[in-house]
C-alpha cells in the first residue's frame, strides 16, 4: 500500500506523486496517514452506495428496505468518506449539520403523521395516488414515502452526530494536543540553546 503523506524516508527514484485528486479535500487526518487505495475505493463506491440507499427507501413499502435501512446505508457512504479523508472530508460531503438533518427528518415524519387529522382521517393514515408515466409505467405514490423519507433523514442525522461526537471531535482534540506538544518541544529546544 502506498502511503503518501508519512514523510518517512524518501520515495524511490523516478516515482511521481499522484496528481489525481480522488477526494474533495487534501488535509491528512489526525489518526494515521491517508491511503490511496482507500481513497480510490471510496471515490468509486460512494455514488453507488447513495443510489442504493435511495433504491431501498423507495422500494421499502412492500419489499425489504425502507427509510431506516436506506438511512443506514446512506450514512455508511458518509462514514466511508470520513474514514478515508477525516473530518474535513466529512464536512465537505455534508453541508448540513447533523442536528439540522435530525430536525428536518422529525418535522417531515411528524407532519406526515399528523396531516390526515386535519382532513378528518386517522393518525398516520396513508394516501395513495397512481400515475402512468411514460418511461416507468404504472407508478404508485403513497404518502408513507414522505414519512419514510423523514425516517431516512433522522437515521442519517443520528449516525452523523455519532461520527461527529466520537470521531470528528476526538480528531480535533488530538490535532490540538499534537500542536501543543509541538509548541512545547519548540520552547524546550529554545530554552536549551
Amino acid at each position: 500500500m502506498s502511503e503518501v503523506s508519512t514523510g518517512a524516508g524518501t520515495p524511490p527514484e523516478g516515482w511521481e506523486a499522484p496528481r489525481e485528486r480522488w477526494l474533495s479535500t487534501v488535509v491528512s487526518p489526525a489518526f494515521g496517514p491517508r491511503s490511496v487505495l482507500l481513497e480510490v475505493a471510496v471515490r468509486l463506491l460512494v455514488p453507488s452506495v447513495l443510489v442504493f440507499s435511495v433504491f431501498l427507501l423507495v422500494s421499502g413499502h412492500d419489499r425489504p428496505g425502507g427509510g431506516f435501512a436506506g438511512g443506514l446505508v446512506a450514512s455508511m457512504a458518509f462514514v466511508l468518506r470520513y474514514i478515508a479523508g477525516g473530518r474535513h472530508e466529512l464536512a465537505a460531503g455534508m453541508p448540513l449539520k447533523p442536528n439540522t438533518l435530525l430536525a428536518l427528518g422529525l418535522l417531515l415524519s411528524g407532519v406526515t403523521a399528523g396531516l390526515p387529522l386535519f382532513g378528518g382521517g386517522e393518525l398516520l393514515e396513508v394516501f395513495k395516488a397512481k400515475a402512468d408515466l411514460p418511461v416507468f409505467g404504472e407508478v404508485t405514490f403513497a404518502s408513507y414515502l414522505v414519512f419514510e423519507s423523514g425516517v431516512f433523514l433522522i437515521v442519517v442525522g443520528l449516525v452523523l452526530s455519532v461520527v461527529a461526537a466520537l470521531g470528528a471531535r476526538m480528531e480535533a482534540e488530538e490535532e490540538e494536543a499534537r500542536a501543543g506538544r509541538r509548541r512545547r518541544r519548540a520552547r524546550n529546544k529554545g530554552g536549551a540553546q
Partner: protein, 506 residues
C-alpha cells in the same frame, strides 16, 4: 377525538424538531417549548373533561382496526395522569428557563429543550399506549431522552451516576422486550385488550410467570425494593430541573404501567400477596434509608422510593377503594416530589450544596424558602389538611375495609412509614432551617440579596407555583377523589376498556 389523542405525543415531537432548528436562538427555543407544553396541557385538560364520566376514548392509527393496528387509548386514569404530568413538566420548564435566563446554569440549552420535549412525548405516549409494544416504545423514547438529560452539564459524579442509571434501565428494557415476546408467543397479539381476552384460556402457571415478569420489569423502573438501589445513586446528582422531573414522573410512569398490566392483563391472577409484601418492604426499607442520609437530595430520593410502596399497597388491596387511593396518591406524589426537588434546587443555588452537615439557619436568610420547603414536606409526611393526608387516609380506609392480617400489616407499615417520614423531614428542618446561620450560609444570603434578577424570580415563582399546585390539590380533593373512583371502577370492570378498544370485534 382522534386529534385530541394525538396531540400529547405528536406536538412535542414537532416542538422538539422546531427547537432543534432554532438552536441558536435561545428566546425562540424557549417560546417553542412553552407553547408546546401549553398545548399538551390544554389537550390533557380537555381529555380529563371528556373522560370524567368513565368514557374510554380510542384512536386507531392509520385506520387499522384494533388487534392489528396501533391503538391509542385514553381512560380516566390516563387523562388524569396526562394532565398532572404536563402541568408539572410545564412548571419545571419555566424553572429551567428562569435558571438559564439568570445565567446560573451550566446546562446546554441547545440540547436541553429538544430532549426535554422528546421526554414529554415519551411520557405521554407511555400513558396513552394501547398495546404492549407501543408501551415499550413510549418507555424507550422517555428513557433514551433521560440518558441524555442525566449527563447535562457533565461532571465526574454525573457521568458515574448515568452509567448506573443507563445499565439498570437497559437491563429492565431487555426483560421488558423478552416479556413482550413471551406474551406474543402465548397469545399471538400485543394489543392489551386482546391479550386480556386471550390470556383467559392460557394455563394458570403461564399467566403467573408473565404477571411476575412484568412486575419485575416495571419494578426495576419504579424502584420497588429490592430493585431500588440505582435510584438514590443516580437522581440526586443530576441538575435540579432534571432530577425534579425524573423523581416526579419517571417512576410514576412505571407505577402506571404496573397498575395497567396487573389490572387489565392479569386481573384474574392472585399476585396481590406478592405485591403487598413488596409494598411493605418498599415503604420500610426506603424510609429507613432516608433517615441515615446527610444530603437533602438523597433524603428525598429515599423518601421517593419509600412512598412508591404506598401506591403498591393500594394496588395489592385490589378493591375499587384501594385503586382510587392509589390514583389520588399518584397525583399528589407527582406534584409534591417535584416541589421538593425544586426547593432543593433553590437551596443548592443559594448556598451551593445541599449537605446537612454545612447547612444551618436557612430560615434566617430566606423565610420564603423555608415556607416553600415546609408546605410540600408536610404534605409528603401526610399531615392534615395537605393532599398527602387525603391520599393516605383514602389508602388506609381501603386497607381497613379489605381486612385480613396482611392488609392490616400493610396499614401498620404505612402508618409507621408516615411517622418516620415526618421524622426524616424534621431532621432536615431542624438541621438545615433552624438555628443560628453558619458563616457561609449568611454570606450566601448576602450574595442573594445583591443578585435579584428576572430569571431568579422566575425560578422562585415556578417553585412557588408547584407548591401552590399541591395546595390546590388538597382543596380539590373532593372532585379528585370522585374522579379517582370513576377511574378505579373503569380499571376493575375492564369492560368499558375492552369495548372501546375492540369495539365490534370482541
Amino acid at each position: 377525538m382522534t386529534t385530541l389523542l394525538a396531540v400529547p405525543f405528536l406536538v412535542p415531537v414537532l416542538g422538539a424538531a422546531a427547537a432543534l432548528l432554532l438552536r441558536s436562538y435561545r428566546r425562540g427555543q424557549q417560546a417553542v417549548s412553552v407553547v408546546t407544553l401549553l398545548l399538551v396541557v390544554l389537550a390533557a385538560a380537555e381529555l380529563v373533561r371528556s373522560t370524567a364520566d368513565g368514557t374510554v376514548l380510542t384512536s386507531q392509527a392509520g385506520g387499522w382496526e384494533a388487534p392489528i393496528g396501533i391503538t391509542v387509548v385514553a381512560d380516566p386514569l390516563t387523562a388524569l395522569l396526562l394532565l398532572v404530568s404536563s402541568v408539572v413538566l410545564l412548571v419545571v420548564l419555566l424553572y429551567a428557563i428562569g435558571q438559564d435566563t439568570a445565567g446560573l446554569s451550566r446546562a446546554t440549552p441547545a440540547v436541553f429543550h429538544p430532549i426535554y420535549l422528546v421526554l414529554t412525548a415519551g411520557v405521554c405516549l407511555s400513558f396513552l399506549a394501547g398495546d404492549l409494544f407501543n408501551l415499550f416504545v413510549g418507555f424507550e423514547i422517555m428513557l433514551t431522552a433521560s440518558y441524555a438529560l442525566i449527563t447535562q452539564a457533565p461532571t465526574r459524579a454525573r457521568v458515574r451516576a448515568s452509567m448506573i442509571y443507563t445499565v439498570v434501565s437497559l437491563t429492565s428494557s431487555i426483560l421488558f422486550l423478552t416479556g413482550i415476546a413471551l406474551v406474543y408467543g402465548a397469545t399471538g397479539t400485543v394489543n392489551m385488550a386482546d391479550i386480556a381476552l386471550r390470556l383467559d384460556t392460557a394455563p394458570e402457571p403461564l399467566r403467573m410467570v408473565l404477571a411476575l415478569m412484568f412486575l419485575v420489569v416495571f419494578g426495576i423502573k419504579a424502584a420497588i425494593v429490592p430493585m431500588h438501589f440505582w435510584l438514590p445513586d443516580s437522581y440526586p446528582v443530576a441538575l435540579t430541573r432534571i432530577s425534579a422531573i425524573f423523581a416526579a414522573l419517571l417512576t410514576k410512569v412505571a407505577v402506571y404501567a404496573v397498575i395497567r398490566t396487573q389490572t387489565l392483563l392479569f386481573a384474574r391472577d392472585d399476585t396481590s400477596a406478592v405485591i403487598m409484601w413488596l409494598a411493605i418492604a418498599t415503604m420500610v426499607v426506603g424510609i429507613l434509608g432516608a433517615l441515615v442520609q446527610d444530603d437533602v437530595n438523597r433524603i428525598m430520593s429515599f423518601a421517593l422510593v419509600s412512598h412508591i410502596g404506598f401506591m403498591l399497597f393500594g394496588l395489592a388491596l385490589g378493591s375499587a377503594a384501594g385503586l382510587a387511593g392509589v390514583i389520588v396518591y399518584l397525583v399528589h406524589h407527582i406534584v409534591v416530589q417535584a416541589s421538593l426537588f425544586l426547593v432543593n434546587g433553590l437551596i443548592r443555588q443559594y448556598v451551593g450544596h445541599t449537605s446537612l452537615r454545612a447547612l444551618r439557619g436557612l430560615t434566617a436568610i430566606s423565610p420564603m424558602l423555608a415556607l416553600l420547603f415546609f408546605l410540600p414536606a408536610m404534605s409528603l409526611a401526610g399531615l392534615p389538611p395537605m393532599s398527602g393526608f387525603v391520599a393516605k387516609v383514602a389508602l388506609f380506609q381501603a386497607g381497613a375495609e379489605a381486612g385480613g392480617w396482611l392488609a392490616w400489616t400493610g396499614v401498620a407499615a404505612g402508618v409507621a412509614t408516615s411517622l418516620l417520614t415526618l421524622m426524616a423531614i424534621f431532621r432536615v428542618w431542624v438541621r438545615a432551617f433552624w438555628g443560628v446561620p453558619l458563616p457561609d450560609v449568611v454570606e450566601a444570603g448576602e450574595r442573594l440579596r445583591g443578585r435579584r434578577s428576572g430569571g431568579a424570580l422566575l425560578m422562585a415563582g415556578a417553585t412557588g407555583a408547584m407548591v401552590a399546585l399541591g395546595l390546590v390539590l388538597a382543596a380539590l380533593s373532593g372532585p379528585l377523589t370522585d374522579l379517582a373512583f370513576t377511574a378505579a371502577r373503569d380499571l376493575l370492570g375492564g369492560g368499558a376498556y375492552l369495548q372501546a378498544v375492540l369495539g365490534g370485534a370482541s
